[in-house]
Amino acid sequence: MTTPAPQSRPPFYRDVRILSWAFQLLVFGLIAAVVYWLFGNFQRNTADSGIPTNFDFLANPASFAIPGADFDSNESVRNAYVVGILNTIRVAVVGIILATILGILIGIGRLSKNWVVRKITTVYVEVLRNLPLLVIMTFTFLGVVLQVLPRIENSWVPLGLLVVSNRGIGVPWYQDASGLSLLLVLFVGFLGWWLIARWRHSVSDRTGEASRASLYGGGFFIAVLVIGWLLLGASYTLPVVDGKQIAGGIRIDPSYFAVLIALVIYTASHIAEIVRGSIQAVPLGQGEAATALALSGFQRMWNVVLPQAMRIAIPPLGNQYLNLIKNSSLGAGFAYFELTNVTQVTVGNGSPAVPAFTLALVFYIVLSLIASSFVNLANRRFKLVER
């Protein structure tokens, strides 16, 4: 009989720990080598052709003007970027709000008992979800803004309040009020709304009477807007057609309008599907219990089903919001001066391409990270507390 081999470590080339380390080292080494090689190529080629790779160009005069913004061609490239980022945020924030509202309505409509509503929303979702966004945007710009909206000479002036033309839509606005004071009024209004809603909910929880939070809160919000307007001088300007331009009021840029509409109707089709799926994921018993309590159809949806559905919907909604932010770059093709367009135009006017686009890249990443941290915050706030 032979004695069994003594327990010993295997040789290193059969030791799974060493082998896996060696393999990871190999992969890391290969990636590092490729990156190093590409970066070296980039540096050598840019140095050979005398292309600058630093960010000094930010201080140069932009030498182009931005329509719809208080920005003239003598200001620096840096300021042009600021305008571009603000425009991206402007279209993204408004787009996210509108797309969410429209998406929820259509998502609910998909489950409606009404045959017509169900079919119309189904067609909406199936058509828009299956079209490339660029095609939709080209259509909203060429078809809607340029062809449906009238020329400035024949603009529609409903009730003397609005000026609607294919050079923009003029709406009444505060006169002489700085943006900061407007923001302050809005902030006070929303804060009051939130506090009143909390108070009404606690009253409702204690006494069982209807909370009517939206009624009281919304009323307070409107009251704050009116009082704020009176405090700020009670002045307003109405938009009027002045020659070839819209004077007075505030002008919604036609390209902004086209880009916003396209982003909203496209993203809403995806949000609608998320909302529909989330509603269907809420156990049927919840809705049946609400019906058994004699809640109306609206109460059942608004108070019982939707709150639970939105909890499921938040993470995929966040993805759609990120998509919307990134898709806003398509506005560059339609004269909307968001971040990508500013980058392209400044490169066309002499800024070095690689640093300019690197900057745009970093801004998009930062914007996306901020947006997704908001979504994570909401997710943490609303998810089921598991014990």
């Binding site: 080339y13 090689w37 004269a335 392209q344 135009v345």
Partner: protein, 366 residues
């Protein structure tokens, strides 16, 4: 058995090490390759010899710019720039049709020249310092002095850009057009909203729908655009103001003087011919002209100081009768202009001969 496995591991380790150090190796090989290419460049024979040996000129052009170069349904290239390709072929090869017209995208044109895909670019390219310096190109005699202009609708009533205050001007993106327009508005104290679009089709839509009051681009390009307007060329007007310098010139690769000179004198011959009033129709009557300078130019024989019949060879590497071939087969500058640009409504303007107050001036051929 054991030994083989050891070998495998060793090979893997060697690979890792090789990967880590490969960048240095690459640097040296690239540098060596670059040196080799440089050395090759010095020994390279001139493109002139190459083109003559090949019997065909590869000329970089485009396929759809009305007046300058259009590819017809029959497969011919017709236009001002295309004719200058023919001028070069007639001078170098004696046959204006020995041209391979290579259609190039705007973004690819310099690369095509640098990589040797074409011998010469005749593709309405603006001569600027940075292109001269960093694209490795040599610009030759300017064939067309262009400038940025403005097109408006005929019923707008604008007589000049100074009338245009508080208007929207649409331009194509990716060029210096929007910068030029903004600078001009500043200079004149006008309030312009300059909207840049990705391509001319979008501008056409916006302009047609009345979103833009003006369409700004190179005057010559505007002339082509005007001819293609859906409501006919008379529905729009190109204002007389020109507010930038856009000299369009053919270009060849840096560092090949013989080829650059040959191409340059082929183009200059069209200007010289117009100065003397020599056209494709009457060139034969000039062969026995009393003016010996004209006979030298056309490669006809003349009497030298010793009384011998001879012809002038300027040493350009071109046939002595190259100018005759150019004029006979293609025509002088005025003929080329009248054939392609005058029908679009373009005036000679600064592109007239210096004797008529224009900028066209050829050094003497002698």
């Amino acid at each position: 058995m054991k030994l083989r496995k050891l070998l495998v591991v060793l090979t893997a380790l060697t690979l890792v090490l090789a990967a880590c150090t490969s960048d240095d190796g690459d640097t040296t090989t690239t540098a060596a390759a670059a040196d080799a290419a440089d050395a090759g460049g010095e020994e390279m024979t001139s493109l002139l010899d190459e083109v003559i040996a090949r019997g065909e000129l590869k000329c970089g052009t485009r396929d759809a710019l009305t007046g300058f170069a259009v590819l017809t349904e029959e497969g011919d290239h017709v236009g001002f720039d295309s004719d200058f390709c023919r001028v070069i072929a007639a001078a170098v090869l004696g046959d204006a049709e020995a041209v391979d017209h290579v259609d190039l995208e705007t973004a690819d044109r310099f690369t095509a020249l640098q990589s040797g895909q074409v011998d010469v670019l005749s593709r309405n390219t603006t001569w600027t310092a940075s292109r001269d310096g960093s694209e490795g190109a040599t610009f030759l005699t300017v064939t067309y002095y262009d400038g940025q202009g403005m097109m408006v609708t005929a019923d707008s009533g604008y007589a000049g850009i100074a009338d245009m205050d508080g208007v929207i001007v649409c331009v194509a993106k990716g060029t210096t057009t929007e910068g030029n327009a903004a600078a001009e508005a500043d200079r004149l104290g006008l309030d312009w909203e300059v909207r840049p679009f990705d391509d001319n089709d979008l501008i056409q839509e916006a302009f047609g729908a009345g979103q833009c009051d003006g369409w700004s681009a190179d005057s010559s390009a505007l002339t082509g655009i005007r001819a293609d307007q859906p409501d006919g060329p008379d529905s729009v007007v190109i204002l007389p103001d020109v507010f930038s310098k856009e000299p369009l010139a053919p270009l060849v690769l840096d560092g090949d003087t013989a080829w650059a000179q040959a191409v340059n004198w082929a183009i200059l011959a069209t200007i010289t011919a117009e100065e003397w009033g020599i056209t494709s129709a009457n060139v034969d009557t000039f062969l026995d002209s009393d003016d010996s300078n004209i006979r030298k130019f056309l490669g006809a024989s003349f009497e030298d100081s010793d009384g011998n019949e001879t012809t002038l060879d300027a040493g350009l590497g071109l046939p002595t009768d190259f100018a005759y071939q150019v004029i006979k087969q293609v025509g002088n500058y005025g003929e080329i202009f009248d054939r392609h640009l005058a029908p679009l409504g373009l005036e000679r303007g600064v592109n007239a001969l210096w004797t008529d107050g224009g900028l066209l001036y050829s050094p003497p051929y002698r």
